[in-house]
Amino acid sequence: MITKLHLESFGLYREVSFDLGPVTAFVGPNESGKTTLFHALLDCLCRPRGASTHARALQSRYGKLRSCTVEPPDWDGAIPVEEFTELLAIDSGAITLNVSENSDWMQAVKANLFSGGIDPSAITRDLRREASENKTYAHMKRLKELQSRLESLEQERDRLSARRAEILGGERRLQQQTREHEELENTLRKLQQDHTRLEKHLAAQSAAMERRRARALLAKIETVEELERELELRAAFSEDAEPQLAALETGMENTRSHREHAVVAHEHRRAERETALRAHRSAEHAAAAQQQLAEAAKSLRRNLEHSRAAPITRTKRRPRPLVLAAAGVLLATAAVPFLVLTAPESLVVGAALAAGALILGGFAGFEQTVEHDNTPVENALRRARDEWQRETGEQLSAESYEGLISALTGVESKAAAARDELQRRGDELQDQEHKLTEARAAEQTARRTAEAAQQELNDWLARYGLAGTREYHNARAEYRSRRQRRDELTRELHQAADQYGCTGRSALRGELARLLERTTEAEVEPKDNEALRRTESRRAQLAQEIEQLRARRDAAAAEIAELRGTVKGSLGEIPEQLLDLETRIARLDREIGELNDAREAAAIAAEIFEELGADFDHVLEDLARDIQARFGAITGNERRLSLPKLAVDAAEVIDAGGTARPPAQLSKGTLDAFLLAARIALALQARDGEGILVLDEPFQSLDTERTLGALKLLEHVHRENNVQLLFFTKDERLLDACTAVFAELRIHRLQLVGRA
C-alpha cells in the first residue's frame, strides 16, 4: 500500500505531502489541483521515460524540474504506464477502455490482461511467419538462395570428384600402358633377337648350300670327264649300226624259218613213209595169212580132192614160245659184251652164247606134227570144216563139197588178191622212200644256209666283241644314256659357269675351288630347300611382327607422354579444392539446417503460443462471467450482460424489456456501468498481489442507486483483493456515500491551489 505522496515541486504544489490510507478520497472543487495530484501519482508510479506520449505530456505541463515521490519507494516506477492509464486509473468521469493499438479492443484487453501489454496473437503471427514456407518471406528466399548455391557447389564438387576419378583412372591406364609398353619392348627385343638369329642361320644355311653346290658342281665336272673318257672308249658305239644288225638278224631269221619249214617237210615225209611202211607190212602180213589160208584151203581142197582120190597127209610146224623166249634172252645176254666193248674174252663168251641161242631157237623152237586124213569124204568134209574152223576159227558155210571147194578156191583167190595188194604197197613204199630222201636233202640244205646266216651275224657281233645282239642293244643304250648324261651335265656346267661369270669347265673348276677355299664349313647342318624356305618365311613373318610391334610401342609411348602430362598437371591441386568445396558445402548445409531448424523451432514456439491463446480464451470466459457478475452488482441486476465469448461484437446488454443492444447503442449510464465492471474485473486479473485503483469522478453518469452498487462492489474488491482505492471527486454526496460504504476512509479536502 502506498502510504504517502510527496510533492516537492509539482505544478503549483511545493513541499506538500499526502498520507494515503487503504481508501483515500481527495475532495475539492474544480481547479483545486485534483488533476495535478493525479498526474503526480502517475509520474511517481510509472515514471514514463524518454519520448513516450505521457512523458512528453507531463514535461510540457509540469516542466523538466518537477519532483514528486511515493512511499514506500517500491512503488516508484513499479507500474507500466499503459497499465496505469488504461486499466488502473479510471479518470475524467467518462470511463473508457482505452484501445490504443488495436481496433479489436478485446485483443487489447487480452494484451493488457495477460501479457503486460503484449499481444500473444501478434507474437504467434510473427512466429507463424517465421515458420512459414511461403516463398515471399525473406527467410524462404534466403533458404532458396542457399539451396541453389548448395546445389551448384555440390555439382562442382561432383564434377571435381569425377575429374579426380578420371585422372586417377588415367593414371592407372598410364601404369598399365607403361607396363604394356615395357612388355612390348621386351617382346620386340626378343623378336629382333630371333630375327637376327634366323638371319644368321639363313646366311649360314645359304653358305652351306653354296659350298654344297660347289662341291656338287666339281663332282659333276669329274663325272663329265669320266663320261667323256668312257664315251671315247666306246667310240664304236657312237655310230648307229642298228639297221645293219637288223638286216643281219632278218636274214638269219629268214634262213632259220626256211630251215624249220624243211625240217617240218622232212618230218612229214618220214611219217608218210612210215605209214607206207606200216601199210606194206600189214599187206605183207595179210598176204602171208591169206597165203597160209590159201595153202590150208589148197591143202583142204587137195585133201578133199584126194579124199575123193586118196587120203591126204600133212605136216605142220608150230613155234614153241617159251623156247623162243629163252633163246631171245640168251641172244640179248650175248649182245652185252659187244655193246660194252669189254675184254676180248668176254666177246668170245658172247659169241658162244649167241650161237647157243641160235641153235636152241632153230631146233627146239618149232614143233612139227604130221596129220593123217583117212576118212571118207563126208568125214573129210566134216573134218575139213572142223579143221577149217579149228584152223581159222571160222565156219565154212558151204555144206557141199563143191561149195566147199569153191569156198576154198575163194580163199585161194583172196590170197592172190592179197599178193597183188602187197605188190601195190611195195611200190608205194618205194615211192615214199624216194620222196623222203628228197626231203632229207632239202632239209640239210636249209640247215646249212641257216647256219651260214647265224655265222655271218656272229661274225658281225664278234667285231664289237659282243656275244649277242642284246648286248649290242644294251651297249648302245648305255652309250646313248651316257652321252645324254654328259650333255646334260655339260649344259648344267655351262650355266653354272655363266652364273659364276667364267667360261669353260676349267675356269669354272678354278672358280669353285677358290669359293671352297674362301668360305669355311658352316656349323649348321645344311637343310633342304623346304626347311630353308620355312625358316625364311618365319623370318619374314617375324620382321612383319616387329614392324607392327614397333608401331604399337610408339603409339603407347605417345599416349603415355600425353597421360603423364594430364596427370602431373592437375591431380595435385584437386584435394585442396575438394576440401575447400566440402567446407563451403558444409557451411551452407549448416546454414540451411539452421534456417530449417529455426523454422521448425518457430513453428514449435507458435504452437506453444497458440496453446497459450487457447488458455487465455478460457481465462477470458471466466473474466466475462466476472464482468457480468460485477455489472449485475452495479445495476442491481436490472440488466443482464450477454458475453458468449469475449469479443466486442458478441457483447450485448439486455434490458428489462428483453431488448438486446450492442455496446454502441447503450445509454451513457449503462455503458459506464459495463465499462466500470469490465475495468474492475480486468484490473483484478491484471495484477497479482497488491493492487491499486485510482478513480477520478468515476460515477458521473450513474444514478444514485447504481453509484451505491458500484461503491459496494469497490468495497468488496478492496476488502477481498487487497486493492488500495484512491478517489478524486468534487461531489460531497459521493463522499457521503463513501463514508457510509467504507469503514476506514481517509479524506483530503483540497483548497484552490495556492489557497491551501
Binding site: I118, P575, A586
Partner: protein, 362 residues
C-alpha cells in the same frame, strides 16, 4: 605377431601441462600393457612450437618409461608449426621418440613394419612426384597429418583450423595397408581399397565439441597383413560434456539441475545458459555460483551466457510465465536430442520476442 599403437593430437601444452602428461602417461602405460612394438604419434604432439621447446625435456622423461622393445615415431603436425617462425624443428629432442622431419617422408623399418612418416607440410599436392621405393615383403604404414579430402566430411570445426588436404590416392601409391592419420579430433575409420585409413581422434579433449571418449588405435600385424585394429580408451582424458541449462522464473533451479549430473575430474564441461533473467547482475551472480559449485569438480568449466538475456520484470510477466509453463511440459517429454535442440531454439526465439515486445512498450 607385431603390435602398434596409433595415437594423434595430444596437444601437450604448458597451459594444461598436468592434464597433457596424465594422458601421455596413460598412453605409455597402454604401450606397456599391450607389449607394443611400435608407437605412432600422428602429429600435434605439442600444442605449439613454444610448447614443444618448453616441454620436450619433460616429455623425454615421461617417454623413458616406454617398454624397452618399443620404438616410437612422431611426425610434426600443424600445431608444431604454430609460432615457430624460422626456428628449426629438427633440433627438438624427444628422447625415445624418433622425430620424423625428413622431406617429403622419412622411412623406418621397425619389427618388419615398413613405416612412411610424412611430416606436416603446407601442401601435399606434390605427392605425385614422391619417389616411392618398390614394395617389399613387409606391410607398409603411412603416417600423415591433415584432412582426407573428397571422401567424407570431417566437420566444420576441423576444417576451419589451418588444414591441408590429403588425397587418399597417396596411400595407394605408397602401397600402405594402414594409414595412421592425425589432425581430425573425432575418430573415423575408412576402409579404402587395400588400405585402412584411420583417425583415432585426439588423444585428449582439446576443445568443445569433442564429445566421445578419447582413444588410440591398437594394431596387430600378422605376416604382411593388418589382422586387427581396435580402439583403446584413454580414461585420463575425460570427456567433453555440453549441458544446456534453460533458465526459468527461478534462476536458482539450474544449480540443483547441475548437481544432478556426475562429472569426471578430467571432464571439460560447458554449460549453456539460455533464457531471460531479471538483471545482468543476477546473471553474473548465477555464473559465479555455478563456477563455485562445479569448477572444483572438473578439469575445465566454461559457462556460455550468450543466450541468457536480462529483462527486468520478466519474473512478473504473465505471458513469460505461461509460456515457460507450457514449454517446460514439452521439455520434460522431449526424447531425442534434436527435439530438445528445437525446443531450446523455440524457447530462445519466443523469449526474445517477448523481451523485444516488452522493451518496445516501455
Amino acid at each position: 605377431m607385431r603390435k602398434a599403437i596409433h595415437a594423434a593430437d595430444l596437444h601437450v601444452s604448458r597451459s594444461e601441462q598436468q592434464y597433457s602428461f596424465a594422458v601421455f602417461d596413460e598412453l605409455i602405460e597402454l604401450c606397456r600393457r599391450n607389449e607394443v612394438d611400435l608407437l605412432l604419434l600422428a602429429g600435434d604432439l605439442f600444442d605449439s612450437y613454444p610448447d614443444a621447446v618448453a616441454l620436450a625435456p619433460e616429455l623425454r622423461e615421461h617417454a623413458a618409461a616406454l617398454p624397452e622393445a618399443c620404438r616410437a615415431v612422431a611426425i610434426p603436425g600443424n600445431h608444431e608449426e604454430l609460432l615457430r617462425g624460422e626456428e628449426p624443428l629438427e633440433t627438438i629432442d624427444l628422447g625415445r621418440i624418433a622425430w620424423a622431419t625428413g622431406s617429403p617422408f622419412q622411412r623406418y623399418t621397425v619389427c618388419g613394419i615398413d613405416l612412411f612418416a610424412v611430416p606436416f607440410r603446407s601442401s601435399y599436392a606434390d605427392y605425385l612426384t614422391w619417389e616411392i621405393p618398390a614394395a617389399g615383403e613387409d606391410p607398409r604404414i603411412v603416417m600423415m597429418h591433415g584432412t582426407l579430402a573428397g571422401m567424407w566430411f570431417s566437420g566444420l570445426e576441423e576444417t576451419e583450423e589451418s588444414t591441408v588436404a590429403i588425397d587418399p590416392d597417396v596411400f595407394g601409391r605408397i602401397g600402405a595397408s594402414y594409414a595412421a592419420l592425425g589432425h581430425i579430433h573425432s575418430a573415423h575409420t575408412e576402409e579404402l581399397e587395400g588400405c585402412t585409413a584411420c583417425y583415432p581422434g585426439s588423444a585428449r579433449v582439446w576443445r568443445r565439441g569433442e564429445n566421445d571418449l578419447r582413444a588410440v588405435q591398437l594394431l596387430e600385424f600378422q605376416g604382411t597383413a593388418l589382422t586387427r585394429h581396435e580402439r583403446l580408451t584413454l580414461t585420463s582424458a575425460g570427456r567433453y560434456r555440453h549441458l544446456e541449462l534453460p533458465v526459468g522464473i527461478d534462476p536458482g533451479k539450474v544449480l540443483t539441475h547441475v548437481d544432478e549430473h556426475v562429472f569426471d575430474s578430467a571432464d571439460f564441461v560447458e554449460l549453456a545458459l539460455s533464457g531471460l533473467i531479471e538483471t545482468q547482475a543476477q546473471s553474473a551472480q548465477l555464473v559465479r555460483k555455478l563456477q563455485h559449485r562445479l569448477g572444483p569438480r572438473v578439469r575445465r568449466l566454461e559457462i556460455d551466457t550468450e543466450h541468457l538475456e536480462p529483462l527486468s520484470g520478466f519474473a512478473a510477466l504473465p505471458l513469460a510465465r505461461h509460456f515457460l509453463e507450457h514449454w517446460n511440459r514439452r521439455w520434460q517429454h522431449a526424447a531425442s536430442p534434436r527435439e530438445k535442440d528445437l525446443l531450446l531454439e523455440a524457447r530462445r526465439n519466443a523469449l526474445t520476442k517477448i523481451k523485444h515486445r516488452v522493451e518496445g512498450r516501455r
